[in-house]
Symmetry: C2
Subunit: 356 residues, 2 copies
């Protein structure tokens, strides 16, 4: 069934509150989850909730963490997430870093003991809306190997950039440093399809086309993607004390992720009037978009433009929740005692939509 952006936010807030998250934290996570679904990144949307609940049950995701700042020298800070949601930790780190970046021109926050930060582009959007340039990265559950290696020691390690614009859409890049996510390989396995030999390697470290044999994800561009993933590891873990390599918890065993993040904010207004900066970003975007196009290409997009447009469109049409996911979330809510047994998804959405 279709649900609206506001309905999804209230639904997720309700479910997470029932799962013992403080209301304020639940609202932060709900906003990022709805952002994910409404920009088309379904892997980090409503479909994640069941996994979060399993992690809470296993004791690897702490809904009521003692989030605290462990270092603060002005322009650099370190936060300990106490194995709470990385979404909450990173947003709170952002809250504290923003005035520092405005004061200094550039500032950096890192975090340790966190679970997943959710849909990375959210932080790029947030910075762009605040007139800031953001560089964000985090290490994740280890699913890839060092170049030439076979053990899983490195995560999909995304890199995110957010840049404010004027008339144009903000430039927001959100890329993982592996070709694909493990979910895409599992989907191929379910469909009985083979995978390109660039996507993954088998247990021994050899490229494979059999999704069932895929053990480690291949980095983008061979040694270059490996280098970028190492860069993310360094920025996310070395300054924060977060886990890396074989110290990271195992995804399959629902262990504590214990990963880290790095957030660097730069204030364009320290360099020039913000309007001038945004005008130059607009000019850049126009130059890229108005160039000659390759065969079959109807329009050239800047990084993130497709997601901004999709969000605008989906805010009108709503998000289509699949039958399976509707059922999964309804059952989850019954288990949490958030709604009576026998209820359906429409009832669940209505139940939380009523709340202010």
């Amino acid at each position: 069934m279709h649900i609206t952006y506001e309905e999804e936010r209230k639904l997720v807030t309700g479910i997470l509150t029932a799962a013992d998250f403080p209301a304020e934290d639940a609202e932060i996570i709900a906003k990022v989850i709805a952002h994910s679904d409404f920009t088309g990144v379904y892997s980090h949307g409503l479909s994640r909730l069941t996994r979060y609940m399993r992690q809470i049950k296993a004791g690897s995701l702490n809904p009521r963490p003692n989030f605290r700042k462990v270092l603060d020298t002005g322009a650099v800070m370190v936060f300990d997430g106490d194995n709470g949601s990385g979404i909450v930790s990173l947003n709170r780190a952002y809250d504290e870093l923003l005035p520092r970046a405005k004061a200094c021109g550039i500032a950096m926050a890192t975090g340790r003991h966190n679970a997943n930060i959710g849909c990375g582009s959210y932080y790029g959007w947030r910075a762009a809306a605040d007139g800031m340039v953001a560089l964000v990265c985090c290490n994740t559950y280890a699913f890839t190997s060092p170049f030439g290696g076979a053990d899983r020691l490195i995560g999909t390690n995304p890199i995110i950039l957010g840049v404010p614009a004027g008339e144009a859409y903000p430039i927001v890049m959100d890329i993982s440093t592996t070709f694909v996510a493990m979910g895409k390989i599992q989907a191929a396995e379910r469909e009985g399809q083979s995978i390109p030999d660039t996507w993954a390697k088998d247990y021994d470290g050899a490229p494979t086309t059999d999704p069932a044999k895929a053990f480690s994800l291949s980095p983008i561009a061979a040694h270059k993607g490996y280098g970028l993933a190492v860069m993310v590891d360094v920025l996310s873990t070395m300054f924060s004390g977060a886990c890396f390599g074989s110290d990271i918890g195992l995804f399959s065993k629902l262990e504590k992720e214990n990963t880290g993040f790095c957030l660097i904010l730069i204030d364009p207004a320290k360099f020039m009037p913000l309007g001038d900066f945004k005008a130059e970003v607009d000019r850049y975007a126009g130059m890229m978009k108005n160039g000659r196009r390759a065969p079959g290409v109807e329009e050239i997009f800047l990084p993130g433009e497709i997601e901004y447009r999709r969000f605008e469109k989906m805010k009108q049409t709503g998000f289509e929740v699949s039958e399976a996911l509707s059922k999964e979330l309804t059952e989850l809510s019954v288990t949490l005692g958030a709604i009576e047994a026998g209820s359906d998804f429409a009832g669940l959405v209505a139940r939380f939509a009523e709340e202010t």
Copy 2:
């Protein structure tokens, strides 16, 4: 013939001084050029000197620029290179940024109106030796297109990381955001070989295997490499006022490059004792190196390790300058009046080796 590291530095310093560079600037450039050859990055070594001379003659490279700081708010600075060597500009920016990064924990310098910064890994080495983490990038002559586009609007836009280590080699990543450099395609053309269809696109923006038809370089990993190249453009040009897109000079016409750079330095010692940081980098390197290896792989390397080892080895063996390059540099030196007509390369090397 073989020349030693010291001989190469003196040779380049001598040639550049003869070409009107101030001695101090010539020494900086010579160090980066020798670094390039002695780490095996021959494309940015001695082979570049002839191009520099042509650029000077064309008025697009200024050997005696009025390098100046145009913005300084403490943690962020902007430099104008007056179209001098980007190598000199970036090194001088580094000199000024280092104490700021040590004071603030993180600091950022950008530059405009610069020519090429030379071998990127040099700056990673420099930071690592200073116990600093460096993120460096620059935009370059435009040889690639936005994703889906056909015009040349984006450079090979390298990303460089430098990380200090203890017992291990420092981690230094230096990657371009295109599959290959144009030089590699021109080499294939000279050899009459075809190129993989992932390397470049023709004038219309379609992939090509014919090096003669290669017009724009393909980014690594499709839209992901495009996103990274845009990130480099934003960091290098938007804060500095450097040129981007179609405003960049044309390589083929020896026009002023007018590109920019971004240097971010982070001080690990603001986060923890430097020794502790280095020990963690060592532990990380060990974890990566000691994992299982893929078939046929004898050793796993950290980014930059191969170049550190090659430098150590080549400092012993010297660098083999080809017949063609020896002749080219000798003729160049005669033209500059640095040595008499009829001299050979050995005489040229000896001429400058004598100087202190």
